[in-house]
């Protein structure tokens, strides 16, 4: 098997995703041409809804990394970053985007036209250190961009108290004032309420889509998880709702008709940590032995329902919860979530990606591994890899480990190979 490989997708609607991705990047460039302010921001927070509500264009440098990985641009970006003196031990997203903005950013040949330069940088305080540092690097690279230094309490989901929420809401209001001041766009609160409603609808659809994965055989596997793109870039828009409705319909139809991702589904797997963006084909590797990656940790981050009666509080809450839920900020909650998913999706085994690039998601994994074994009797295997750097990944080792793991699961289930 190759080190870099795209996944095989079975959903009709997953193919429509390509169009959506192209449209999104076209829209970003179009916005820039029209003079609509372009703001770069980290994902998984409530700022995206504010941007759409204020007619500003959000851009997500973190999402650009999987795109670079898919197009094979990452090694070139890494070379640039290495040359600047950054350690190879840093998160691959940081190394990729740093190389991109200092290297091929304005190269004609960049797919999708690349990213339009930012007018605004939403520089986070909170979230993980690498994301914070990515934005410090961007601030230096784009000195003309207006910088909003955001601040967000870093607290486990189960420990959120009123003072955390109050401060997060205060920050939301400060962000709105900042955006109004630097762009002249005003916040229309009715429009915001609409956007939050759409965002919540997308989450509801997401939940519904995920719920069909309970079916045996499952109609949707991790190989199609690219649909997450709309949750990252389009939350709060009709586009996301329409797309997810179509996905829901297709998934529902397949589930009810008993059409699985593969014909003979024998082993149901759970995937923990970020995928290997340069090799999404790995998800198909399990299939030759009847294995399907039915569920994964980070998809849970998108199923946070919003209190549409209180839009600002809802967005503040979303900002407080999204990242902790999938990282080491809320190990207990995350563990709970993984166990719940494994129960609900009838998981036979878990694949834990020990991700050299992402310390915050990797920390806590061993606790989860133990809980899976002790509380559910679900065995797991550790795969040493990296979500961006294929130098930290060995296909041969992956195959050996997965083969042995699958054999063990077969035996455990009393199946014959």
């Amino acid at each position: 098997m190759d080190k870099t490989k795209k996944s095989t997708k079975r959903l009709r609607t997953a193919k429509d995703l390509n169009r959506l991705v192209i449209d999104y990047y076209l829209e970003c460039h179009e916005a820039k041409r029209r003079g609509t302010p372009v703001g770069w921001m980290p994902p998984m927070n409530g700022a995206i809804e504010l941007f759409y509500a204020m007619d500003l264009q959000p851009v997500f440098p973190e999402n650009w990394s999987p795109v670079c990985a898919a197009f094979g641009l990452t090694p070139g970006n890494f070379d640039v970053t290495d040359g600047l003196g950054y350690s190879r031990d840093l998160c691959g997203y940081l190394r990729n985007i740093t190389g991109y903005v200092h290297g091929f950013m304005n190269d004609e040949s960049i797919p999708l036209g690349g990213l339009p330069e930012p007018d605004i940088l939403l520089s986070p305080g909170g979230g993980c250190v690498p994301v914070m540092k990515i934005f410090h690097i961007l601030e230096r690279r784009f000195p003309k961009a207006k910088v909003f230094s955001a601040d967000l309490p870093q607290v486990a989901v189960e420990d959120i108290r009123k003072h955390h929420l109050d401060y997060a809401v205060w920050e939301m209001n400060r962000l709105i004032d900042f955006l109004t001041e630097v762009t002249g766009h005003r916040m229309d609160h009715d429009r915001l309420a609409e956007v939050v409603k759409l965002s919540d609808q997308a989450c509801a659809l997401w939940d519904e889509i995920m719920s069909y994965r309970r079916f045996i055989p499952t109609p949707l596997s991790a190989a199609e998880i690219g649909i997450m793109f709309v949750m990252v870039t389009r939350q709060g828009t009709q586009i996301a709702v329409d797309f997810l409705t179509a996905v829901r319909d297709e998934v529902k139809e397949r589930a009810e008709a008993g059409i699985g991702v593969i014909d003979d589904e024998r082993i149901r797997l759970f995937w923990d940590n970020i995928p290997l963006w340069y090799n999404m084909g790995l998800f198909n590797y399990f299939e030759k032995m009847g294995g399907v990656a039915v569920a994964e940790t980070y998809s849970a981050a998108w199923s946070l329902r919003l209190d549409t009666e209180h839009p600002l509080e809802a967005l503040a809450m979303k900002s407080l919860m999204s990242y902790p839920l999938v990282s080491c900020v809320s190990i207990r909650k995350r563990k709970e979530m993984v166990l719940k998913a494994c129960r609900e999706y009838s998981i036979d085994g878990a694949v834990l990606h020990r991700n050299k690039s992402c310390v915050p998601i990797t920390l806590g994994q061993m606790d989860i591994k133990r809980a899976l074994e002790e509380e559910l009797g679900v065995p797991s295997v550790i795969i040493d890899a990296d979500h961006m750097d294929d130098q930290n990944f060995s296909v041969a080792q992956f195959e050996t480990r997965v083969d042995a793991f699958m054999e063990m699961l077969y035996e455990k289930k009393g199946l014959k190979l």
Binding site: H136, Y167, K356
Partner: protein, 373 residues
């Protein structure tokens, strides 16, 4: 060999290894890094105890952590799993880096303690963020009290006066270090500082004052024939590392380390009530990379270089330490603009790699020597 004035501090550390702190009658609360409000822990009736890592191999910690986090946290976890921190009542840590955050949660479920608490810290300084910090500190006080603490404003006033005084004395010693008149080595200085991590502040302050008096008597005259340098980076736990730098031709005249200057400056905060002063000092701390921008740190480090007449900067990082590694290229660029030479060394879990460090340092000092004639 420790120098005479620093000897009692070596003693304190040794004593701490021999007699388990549990027998001292103190109730200890551990912490990893100095963004933890230790004055509040002390005011609640506990003795703050900075958890150490050190030079050790790791096996037990492999069951809980990946091998690509800083050696400090790996070894500290190893020791905790071996039961060496069993005397700690709890663990409190301000949110600094992702590893510190993850490890608090991992310790909570695998090692235990009450409270086991992560204090979220604001990144910005304004009225609302100060209010938020106040609420976060009050939450900590609540947790400490629930674990048997006895916090009161008067007690905090007292704890603050102790810690402020400790910081003032140490900053005095730093002033002497800038002049080159400190009668002990950087390794000794680190030991002096580390003794404070395990000693109740009343006793530590006494030792420090004696040290300062002795330092006054033993003032060294003139600059020693070595090259003054500033060391910047993560926490350095091994005095040996600093000794090697000094043996290779350097003299550490200033630092920007987690186990150094960053935890002392400023000595005190302003405000009417003691909690206001804790908050104010926190907000005005000499910044650390996990909480600030390289852009803002660079001028402060350059100031320290000028003030101490350092001729170069040595970056010492814990391997895999993201905040420091991510700031390094920008800092280095800023130093270059000021024509300040720099070199970098990463400290690994398996030891300090003495040979490699020595070679790197000797080369660096040679270049500095040639450059400055």
């Amino acid at each position: 060999m420790p120098s005479q004035p620093a000897a009692p501090f070596y003693e304190v550390l040794k004593e701490n290894e021999r007699v388990t702190p549990a027998l001292s009658g103190e109730r200890y609360v551990g912490y990893f890094c100095t963004y933890t409000p230790i004055e509040i822990i002390h005011a609640a009736g506990f003795t703050p105890f900075r958890v150490a890592g050190g030079l050790d191999s790791v096996s037990l910690a492999d069951t809980l952590t990946p091998n690509f986090i800083c050696p400090y946290m790996r070894v500290a976890t190893e020791k905790a799993l071996r039961g060496e921190y069993g005397f700690l009542s709890g663990l409190v840590q301000g949110y600094t880096c992702d590893v510190a955050c993850g490890l608090i949660n991992i310790w909570k479920d695998n090692i235990g303690g009450d409270p086991c608490h992560l204090v979220p810290l604001p990144y910005n300084d304004n009225e609302a963020s100060r209010d938020f910090l106040r609420s976060a500190l009050k939450e900590l006080i609540e947790k400490l009290d629930r674990a048997g603490g006895c916090f009161s404003e008067e007690r905090l006033e007292h704890s603050l006066s102790l810690y402020d005084e400790i910081r003032r004395v140490i900053l005095d010693l730093y002033d002497r270090r800038y002049e080159g008149s400190l009668p002990f080595s950087a390794g000794d200085f680190l030991t002096v500082i580390q003794a404070g991590y395990v000693t109740p502040p009343e006793r530590y302050l006494g030792l420090l004052k004696t040290l300062r008096d002795e330092a006054d008597h033993e003032r060294e005259d003139g600059q020693p024939p070595s090259i003054p340098v500033l060391v910047s980076g993560s926490l350095v736990e091994e005095p040996r590392i600093l000794e090697i730098i000094e043996e290779s031709g350097g003299r550490i005249c200033a630092d920007d380390l987690c186990t150094g200057f960053r935890q002392w400056s400023p000595a005190t905060g302003s405000g009417a009530r003691p909690l206001d002063r804790v908050i104010d000092r926190h907000m005005r701390r000499f910044p650390c990379p996990s909480r600030s921008r390289a852009r803002d740190r660079a001028p402060l480090i350059i100031d320290l270089v000028r003030r101490s007449a350092a001729r170069g900067v040595i970056f010492l990082f814990q391997k895999f330490c993201t905040p420091h590694l991510a700031d390094y290229p920008i800092l280095n660029e800023e130093l270059k603009k000021e024509r300040i030479p720099a070199t970098v060394f990463e400290m690994e879990e398996t030891g300090i790699m003495e040979g490699q460090l020595r070679t790197r340092m000797e080369t660096f000092f040679e270049t500095l020597g040639e450059r400055d004639g």
